[in-house]
Subunit: 266 residues, 2 copies
């Protein structure tokens, strides 16, 4: 049973809203600062895919799930902004907890702007983004000395006023990159990147649920990527595209084996 602390008489008139990165999934990949903030949070608005053990750190907070559903993004975002403002008027420590890092594909700007416009103080706690967690799983560095000095982070998800493929050229010109929220669009992504001149043989690694016990890594190429779109993979998937993302000589990642062994021991 949660017992949120209402604003004390001594406190300032409006609380602080903390936009906090929850990291890639594993609860211990949260930052120390984020863990401390959750422990003293009065209310936590969280995305859909936050780990239950992470939420449990906010022991005395009201928890509000605000995961957005496809097709109703804009309405939902305005509703979230409104709820953050209402909460700041009522509580001292308001946490908006987002998967990964808030400033990468997290729509943080819309929340920051709404809070600033209402003169509500906003603090941002950065987090570990999915791409580096996936790289840790694979044992493959995103940048590579002598080969990859430009790494692109992109998403095919379309917002208001965006053309579907306006990210393709920038991604194609980088030496390697990660595609967030791209699995359902895999066929279109492969065709578009090949159409923009990327070699069909370019290696692609698909990492599902990076950092979690059920983590999966699949290796393919751009040409064969569409076949993977039809496979059964549940969980959040990241596509890594570039010359270094072939299967490593040592076979499956030591990190995957280790995660699973740790789960069996537990």
């Amino acid at each position: 049973m949660a017992h949120p602390r209402r604003r004390s008489a001594r406190a300032c008139l409006v609380g602080v809203v903390h936009l906090v990165g929850a990291g890639p999934g594993a609860p211990d990949l949260l930052t120390v600062r984020a863990a401390q903030l959750l422990a003293r949070a009065d209310i936590v608005f969280h995305d859909a895919l936050i780990h239950p053990d992470t939420l449990a750190l906010a022991a005395s907070a009201v928890k509000v799930a605000v995961g957005k559903r496809c097709g109703r993004h804009s309405t939902a975002q305005r509703f979230i902004n409104k709820r953050l403002l209402d909460a700041a008027a009522k509580y001292d420590v308001v946490v908006r907890l987002k998967g990964g890092d808030p400033m990468l594909f997290g729509r943080a700007q819309e929340e920051i702007d709404a809070l600033e416009a209402a003169n509500v103080r906003c603090e941002i706690v950065p987090g570990v983004t999915a791409a580096v967690a996936a790289a840790a799983t694979l044992g493959t560095s995103l940048t590579q000395r002598g080969r990859v000095r430009t790494f692109a982070l992109a998403t095919p998800r379309v917002g208001d006023g965006e053309r579907a493929n306006d990210w393709i050229n920038g991604f194609r010109q980088a030496q390697a990159g990660a595609i967030y929220m791209g699995r359902k669009d895999a066929a279109n992504i492969a065709a578009s990147l090949i159409g923009a001149g990327m070699a069909a043989t370019t290696p692609v690694a698909i990492v599902v649920d990076a950092s979690l016990p059920g983590v999966e890594a699949h290796y393919t190429t751009l040409a064969q990527l569409p076949a993977f779109a039809d496979c059964e993979m549940s969980g959040a998937a990241l596509l890594l595209v570039g010359p270094q993302f072939h299967r490593r000589k040592s076979g499956a990642s030591a990190n995957i084996a280790e995660v699973r062994a740790a789960v069996r021991r537990a």
Copy 2:
């Protein structure tokens, strides 16, 4: 006085080397997993710019600074690889602590490959990279719905076999990006990006010592960036280039003011 634990008789024959991201600078932006690993580390090989409070978490470990000096990268890297292997033969828990995330501009691949070739198990703990910490400082999201869906991470630092400017085109084509280790090359970077067709008026934010008490944010444009190269700025600088990196209406970042206020209170 450090009392490293030598390998116990029960333990396996070779220790595990953990490549660990120390995050952007502030000790509490370390992950919980990294903090726990440091607490049980026998020996820690660390980069030059790790915060003393972060190192202090490795209370019972031998600490070895292995910061590289310009111009002797390759020799130094081979020497580090050798020291990691030697340590794995002697200790159970070996930590290689790198600023930010190990898989972004951290030369992790060379260490992973050397460990794999010697059959030494290697675990990677991802960290918070400087670009998202800088974004948190500025209150400006790296990706922007409707405007920036491709964000590039790049460095002008040249390794063996690389041409000086082979990162420019990929960076120029992305909708926005961050340049690591680029301050000393600022004049060349600005000229090269403008030469590749990027608008001279493109906003640039320079964030020095992101997440630390002395954090600084400067706003300029590509055309005026060279003037900043001559300024006195100590500390690690990140350049953020893209349409969103203008000074925000609310003035200097609330996060900077907050960090400084916290330091004064301490």
